[in-house]
Symmetry: C2
Subunit: 261 residues, 2 copies
Amino acid sequence: MAIKATIPLKQKTLLEKGDKLYQPGISVDCAIFGFHENALKVLLVKIKQVDKWALPGGFIYKNETIEKAAYRVLQERTGVANIFLQQFNAFGEPDRSDTSIHQARYLEYGIKIPKDNWLLQRFITIGFYALIDFTEVNLEDADANEGAEWIDITKLSNLMMDHENIVSKALEALRTQLAYLPIGRNLLPKKFTMPELQKLYETILDQKLDRRNFQRKLIGFGILNKLTETRKGGAHKAPFLYTFNDKKYQKALKEGLYGTW
Amino acid sequence: MAIKATIPLKQKTLLEKGDKLYQPGISVDCAIFGFHENALKVLLVKIKQVDKWALPGGFIYKNETIEKAAYRVLQERTGVANIFLQQFNAFGEPDRSDTSIHQARYLEYGIKIPKDNWLLQRFITIGFYALIDFTEVNLEDADANEGAEWIDITKLSNLMMDHENIVSKALEALRTQLAYLPIGRNLLPKKFTMPELQKLYETILDQKLDRRNFQRKLIGFGILNKLTETRKGGAHKAPFLYTFNDKKYQKALKEGLYGTW
């Protein structure tokens, strides 16, 4: 008989008391997008027993709000805290749960999950998303990190269950938000060039944009201050620097980029 | 002893087999907004035993998607079918369920619900919304109608649990949608005047809009055809008639009112 690992208390509790502790049949999953220098990544957790990636997710305590559960689960599994999570969709295909993943995780401890255990029921999951600068999160430092990594959005593969679909629906929600709300405040240096801002939009939208249209549109939003400084050092003509106009940026966050009616 | 009503099979099944038939602890609720001639209403069901109004809602069968449950529940409780429901938010305050409402409904049949019955657990609900022309729905004809009525959005009172909050969050979602998607195609006569279109927006937004700004903005969207006809009969100068440009309206539905990047 192969020597099995000792089951950690957390996994033991989940199996034996999950039905007492948590809401039945419901979970939360977080699609955390990270942008930095023209790369868009998503935060995934490695499920080593099945060699698959998963969104950081978990369950809702019987006396906990959905939102609190999402923040707690994200912090417990990745160490990431203090970011704004936006609820966007519930996913509930009847066959979305994959019990073989749970079985594989417990088999490591020599445990076969009983057929009627609450972990093996159908779960509906409530999705949250966020967009942050991924260099501001130190995953290595987090005690909680269960093997969380930033994976390039263009290189997703081997995600468990419907998690790739959840990522793609979260991206859709983010792109819709881009059409009526400002973005970039915490993703770009304080002073940035128009090409840098355009690159941010291009990366999130995954498409090339026309330089002139983009510039006209963004300036039209009235949320930028053009500085007299230029960015020096390049081979090309030094591009002008911009900052966000804090007051107008905040106003646009509330009222939308195209203003009130 | 007072003579009690005989319990209908539907209610009996819900109580005795609900835990076998439905997903535990999760429900769907539909906020159906109806517009007609400058009135915005919401479709509510009367819970006569407690004299409160409720959104049409219900449970998700073990083998049913969330979306299918929402369409089924809406039709079962109000007779309304063939409308597009948009999922918008899940509501999960731990204390949002009100067991006294279930108790009152079963007390009518002389039944006290056992404390451990599945109906009395905490429920998280997934909200859907839609906007339709309420004159196109004949509530009186529907066999399924459990006392559903269109209630003016400005006169809501006595809603059960957190349903007034769900209505208000659904209205927020609808107003956000108004900022980037066209609206009105099925809510106005085929030919309409600019004041009629403005009234639609004013009713949904619950605010007066500036006539000139509104006209400039809507014409700017490029989804209207101005006709050479005018609306005759009024005391004032006859206003021009407009129709939606079908092709451009559909394009704006897909790409947003402000076009692609």
